[in-house]
Each structure stands twice: as structure tokens, then as C-alpha cells.
């Protein structure tokens, strides 16, 4: 029963991981750019939620819509102003560009907040629900519910709205989309904005679970990579499945083996999946 509790906790954390990785997956699936500044953008979201909480006393969950909207604008502007010019360039130039953006984001956060870890005090931080024999942390449940809602909202956007359909058309066939008169540049900017919004929302929810510090960004960029590759780059359900897998793997190995070894297990899982099924568990061949 203890193990079941740990697996559930891993799944709940994994839902937030999934939402974060979904942003990376959407950006790569449509624009074909690997966002090496992904973790950095999440940390921006975390600091935004932290600032709102400290100045207005608003809970990170309540601040989520505002932070998400802010990150959308940031992503939109970045794509419009900078990244759009590098879409057809070689991979290493794109890498260098995003590395520069990531470095500047982390450095700006360091200048603004310093290297210390910050957290938002929550009066329900140690509450939990009793569900039969299961014990669920309130923060984890809240974060997971928020993450699932975020994923559903994004899925609805892509299925139901005209812009969403246009973006999917771009992803399927860029030339065809241009032929029928879609404004690729605007759609790419919207896509990057959506990816940033995902990671901003995930940042607000992560603030319930961990402290924020500028240097954690790289770890989360790597984590997002692991997740999307496990699930399949560009696959929406794949990002969620990957998030759940990594969440459970981390929770189990952290408990049963050694917390400092937990990411080794995630990397081992990634290597295994890449070698057996390079397109990811749910990716198309």
C-alpha cells in the first residue's frame, strides 16, 4: 500500500511534468525547433507567480491565468522578433540562438532575485486527503488537476478553433498550408506562445511542489526533453504518458533506491526507449 501511495504521488507530479513537456512538444511538432530555453521559461513562470504571491497574497493557482497569459505574450514576441528568422537555418545555429536566450533569461533572473531559493508559504502545504487506504497530498492533487485542465484546454484549442486547426495544418504540411494562404509567421508565433503558456502554467503549479531558484532551469529543460522523447516528440498524449512515466520512475527510485539516483533512472529509461523505439512510445514512425 505504501508503494501504491508513492506511485500515485509520482503520477500526480508527472501530470505537471507532462504539461511542461507538452509545451516543448507542441513547439517542436509545429515549428521544428528544439526549445533549449524551455526550463528557463518555466522558471520565469515560477518567479512571476512568486512575485504575485508575495505582493498581493494571491495563491499561485489563482495567479495561473495571469502568468499563463504573460508567458504567452513573451513566447509570441520571442518567436516574432527573433526565432522566426532562424527557422530554416542549420540545427547548430538554432541551438546557439536558444542557448543565448536561455543564458540571458537565467542571468536576468539572477540579477533580479539573486541565487537564493524562494518559496511561497501555503497554509495548506501539509494537508492531505484520505481516500480509503490512500493518502493524497493536497498540493499534488491541486497541481495535477490544474495540469490536466491545462492539457484539456490546449487539446480543445487545437481541435475546435480555426487557429488551432490552421496550426495543425502547418504541422502536417507547411508548404500546403502556405499554398492555401495561411499566415505561417503568425501561426508559428501563436504556437510558440502556446508552448510558453503551457510551461508558464506548469511553473505556477510547480511552485506548489518545489522552491524556485534560477539555476534549476537546466535540470527542467533536460527533464522536458526526456519526457517528450519518451512519449514521442510532437505527440500530445505522448507528452502526458512520458510525464506520468518519469513522475512514477522518479518517485519509486527515489524511495526504493536513493533520491540522488532518481534522474539516473529517468535517463536510463530514455536511453532504452530511444534505442528500442526511437520515435518514442506514442510517436509516429
Amino acid at each position: 500500500m505504501l508503494y501504491l501511495n508513492i506511485i500515485i504521488a509520482g503520477l500526480l507530479t508527472g501530470a505537471v511534468y507532462g504539461l511542461m513537456a507538452l509545451g516543448l512538444s507542441v513547439i517542436f511538432g509545429v515549428i521544428r525547433i528544439v526549445n533549449f530555453a524551455h526550463g528557463e521559461m518555466m522558471v520565469v513562470g515560477m518567479y512571476a507567480a512568486y512575485l504575485i504571491a508575495v505582493n498581493t497574497g494571491l495563491d499561485p493557482v489563482a495567479a495561473l491565468p495571469l502568468v499563463t497569459a504573460g508567458l504567452f505574450l513573451l513566447g509570441y514576441a520571442l518567436q516574432r522578433g527573433l526565432i522566426n528568422r532562424y527557422i530554416a537555418r542549420p540545427e547548430h545555429e538554432q541551438f546557439l540562438l536558444l542557448l543565448a536566450i536561455a543564458t540571458i533569461i537565467t542571468a536576468s533572473l539572477l540579477m533580479g532575485f539573486g541565487p537564493d531559493a524562494r518559496s511561497v508559504p501555503l497554509d495548506y502545504a501539509y494537508d492531505s486527503f484520505q481516500l480509503g487506504p490512500l493518502l493524497l497530498d493536497k498540493v499534488r492533487v491541486l497541481a495535477a488537476v490544474g495540469a490536466v485542465l491545462g492539457v484539456v484546454a490546449l487539446w480543445g484549442f487545437f481541435r475546435l478553433t480555426r487557429t488551432g486547426k490552421a496550426i495543425r495544418a502547418c504541422a502536417d504540411n507547411q508548404v500546403g498550408a502556405q499554398v492555401v494562404g495561411l499566415d505561417i509567421k503568425r501561426l508559428y508565433a501563436v504556437t510558440f506562445g502556446l508552448g510558453a503558456a503551457c510551461v508558464g502554467a506548469a511553473g505556477c503549479l510547480m511552485l506548489l511542489l518545489i522552491d524556485v531558484q534560477p539555476y534549476i532551469a537546466t535540470d527542467y529543460t533536460l527533464l522536458a526533453f526526456i519526457i517528450v522523447i519518451l512519449g514521442g516528440l510532437g505527440s500530445m498524449p505522448g507528452a502526458l504518458l512520458g510525464g506520468a512515466l518519469v513522475g512514477v520512475t522518479e518517485a519509486l527510485s527515489g524511495f526504493a533506491v536513493d533520491p540522488s539516483l532518481k534522474s539516473a533512472f529517468s535517463f536510463a529509461l530514455l536511453i532504452l526507449v530511444l534505442l528500442v523505439r526511437p520515435q518514442g512510445l506514442l510517436g509516429r514512425a
Binding site: 540545427e91 547548430h92 546557439l96 540579477m111 540522488s260 539516473a264
Partner: protein, 332 residues
């Protein structure tokens, strides 16, 4: 198009190279200890960049996990020295063999399963990070608390045991870097070099021409890994302390690849120029920002400089500078 048709350009290039080598040989006599230590950092970056340039610049396979081979070279030579007293030059050979095997196996696994492009890059990060965490728990090499080399004999210079001053390391690394430059120059004019460039430009066309693409990509990775591990061994004996979290860090892998990209990916002199520019930039930022007590100012300027270079000279600084100096035609 380089050799016979432009003898003047070639002669000028040779003269420029001779001038550069002479200046580098004389430099330690004119500068203080601080500058020598900065120059050692430059040479490390230049050498690692050259080694990485083989697999990514020549053969076109983006590796983002070269810290793995730095770490293997460093840890193998240092551990053999501290545990069994094996001289570093022998330990270095062991490191070369193991790094080449590991690099070859990673490449073979990836390319056999048709893992390429972004996926290959992320797989190389995964192997490097996995190894870093393993070494964090590997007690024989001191695990996370680090592996230390005895520093009692640092005062006298002993090239055979790699004990000595930064100036000794400066000349050793200069030799290594120039050796790598000569090797790369030679490789690019051999069959294997042309095969690599064909694979980089269009893998399917290369295959259609009958090039054993798989074999040459694996060979590029193994050679690059082996060369990187040699630099790792020097790093271990220069710094005298090794921690998995710094030796195998993702940050090191990224540092290794920024110099050649800034300098000009796939060019011979690009990694060296990139290393000079980036290290100078980093040191200038450090001394400039030491007057202010602002966290992150140095990294901010560094990021801004990267952004500026990728915006203005995305193909790298060396192709641009080479044209300015009249040392060759602008390619690409």
C-alpha cells in the same frame, strides 16, 4: 580549389600560421601568471573544440554530450595514478581506448537504430548525464566528494608525471592543439575526410555513392571521443581535483561546442579563434563586473554576446576573418 589554383593564398596562410605559432611560443615570456592561466583555459577550449568539430563539423552528427569523454579521460588517468601509481601518459592511453570504445558504441547503437539529428543529440546528453550520476555514486573514484591528486610535488616540473607549473601545461596543450590542427588538416584531405563531408552535406546521396555511411559516422565519433579524452587527462592533472558534477556537467558539454560554433563550425581554425574570443570575453566580463556587485551581470553579457554573434555572423567568425585577412575564399 584550395591547393594549386591559389598558391599565393596558400603561401600567405602558411606564413600566417607560422606567425601565429611563433607568437604563441613566445607569449609566456612576456606575460604574467594570470595571463598564462587564462591562456591555458583558451588552449583547453580550443583543443576540445577541435576534437568535437570532427564529429559535428566534419561528419555532421550533432553531439551535445562531449563532457562524457572529458570525464572518462580525466577519471581513468587520475584514478590509475592515485590508486596504482600508473604514470599519466599510460593512463591517458587507457582513457583513449575506453573513450573511443564508449563513443563508438554510443554511435553504433544510435546509428544502427537510425537515431539521428535532434534525437542523436539528446541521446548523447542522456549518456553523459547518466554517467555523471553513476560517478556521483562510484566510491572507488571518490563519488560526489571528489577525487584528488597529490599536489606535494607541484614545485618541480616533471613532464613524465605531468606535475608542474601552468607554463608547462601551456606548452603541452599548445603542442596538443597544433597536433590536432595538423591532424584535422590532414584528415580533410584524405578519403575519410571527403566521405565525412559528403555525409554531412547529404547522407542519402553519400550512401547512394557507395560510402559506408554507418562505418564512417562511427569512426568520426570514436576518433572525436578519443581525442577529447586526451584533453580530459591533461585537465585532471592540471586542476588536481575532480568532481563528477563539474567534470561531466552539461554546462561543460555546452562550453565545448560554443567555441567551434562561434569560430566557424567545420573549419580548421574556427575552434581556436572561437576559444580565444569566448575566453577573452568571459575574462573581460569577470573583471568588468567585479566592480559591481550585481549577480548574473557576467552571464547576461555573455548571453548577449552569443546572441549578437549568431545574429551577425551565423556561419562563425573565422570564415569572415579569413576573408578579411585574404587567407582564402569565403565558403558557404
Amino acid at each position: 580549389m584550395r591547393s594549386r589554383r591559389f598558391p599565393i593564398v596558400q603561401r600567405r596562410a602558411a606564413a600566417a600560421l607560422a606567425l601565429f605559432v611563433a607568437a604563441m611560443l613566445a607569449l609566456p615570456f612576456f606575460v604574467n601568471g594570470y595571463i598564462v592561466s587564462v591562456l591555458v583555459v583558451v588552449l583547453f577550449a580550443a583543443y576540445f573544440g577541435q576534437a568535437w568539430n570532427i564529429v559535428t563539423g566534419f561528419a555532421g552528427q550533432l553531439s551535445l554530450g562531449h563532457a562524457l569523454y572529458v570525464g572518462l579521460g580525466a577519471y581513468i588517468s587520475a584514478a590509475l595514478f592515485t590508486h596504482y601509481g600508473v604514470p599519466p601518459w599510460i593512463g591517458m592511453l587507457a582513457g583513449v581506448v575506453i573513450a573511443a570504445l564508449v563513443g563508438g558504441i554510443i554511435a553504433a547503437l544510435s546509428f544502427r537504430f537510425r537515431v539521428g539529428g535532434v534525437y542523436f543529440a539528446l541521446l548523447t546528453i542522456a549518456f553523459a548525464e547518466f554517467t555523471r550520476i553513476l560517478f556521483d555514486h562510484f566510491n572507488w573514484v571518490g563519488a560526489a566528494s571528489g577525487l584528488f591528486l597529490p599536489v606535494s610535488s607541484l614545485a618541480r616540473t616533471d613532464v613524465l608525471l605531468l606535475r608542474g607549473s601552468p607554463v608547462m601545461f601551456y606548452y603541452l596543450l599548445l603542442g596538443l592543439t597544433l597536433g590536432a590542427l595538423a591532424l584535422c588538416h590532414d584528415l580533410l584531405r584524405r578519403r575519410i575526410g571527403y566521405y565525412w563531408q559528403a555525409i554531412r552535406e547529404d547522407e542519402e546521396a553519400a550512401q547512394a555513392l557507395g560510402i559506408d555511411v554507418f562505418r564512417y559516422k562511427v569512426a568520426a565519433m570514436a576518433l572525436s571521443a578519443a581525442m577529447t579524452s586526451v584533453g580530459g587527462a591533461f585537465l585532471a592533472f592540471y586542476e588536481n581535483n575532480l568532481y563528477p558534477d563539474t567534470v561531466f556537467a552539461v554546462g561543460r558539454s555546452i562550453e565545448i561546442i560554443t567555441a567551434p560554433i562561434i569560430g566557424g563550425l567545420g573549419t580548421l581554425f574556427g575552434p581556436i579563434l572561437g576559444a580565444v574570443v569566448l575566453t577573452t570575453l568571459g575574462e573581460a566580463m569577470t573583471s568588468l563586473s567585479s566592480g559591481f556587485t550585481v549577480n548574473g551581470l557576467k552571464q547576461w553579457c555573455y548571453g548577449a554576446a552569443l546572441l549578437l554573434i549568431v545574429a551577425l555572423q551565423p556561419a562563425g567568425l573565422w570564415p569572415w576573418l579569413r576573408a578579411r585577412l585574404g587567407l582564402g575564399a569565403v565558403r558557404r
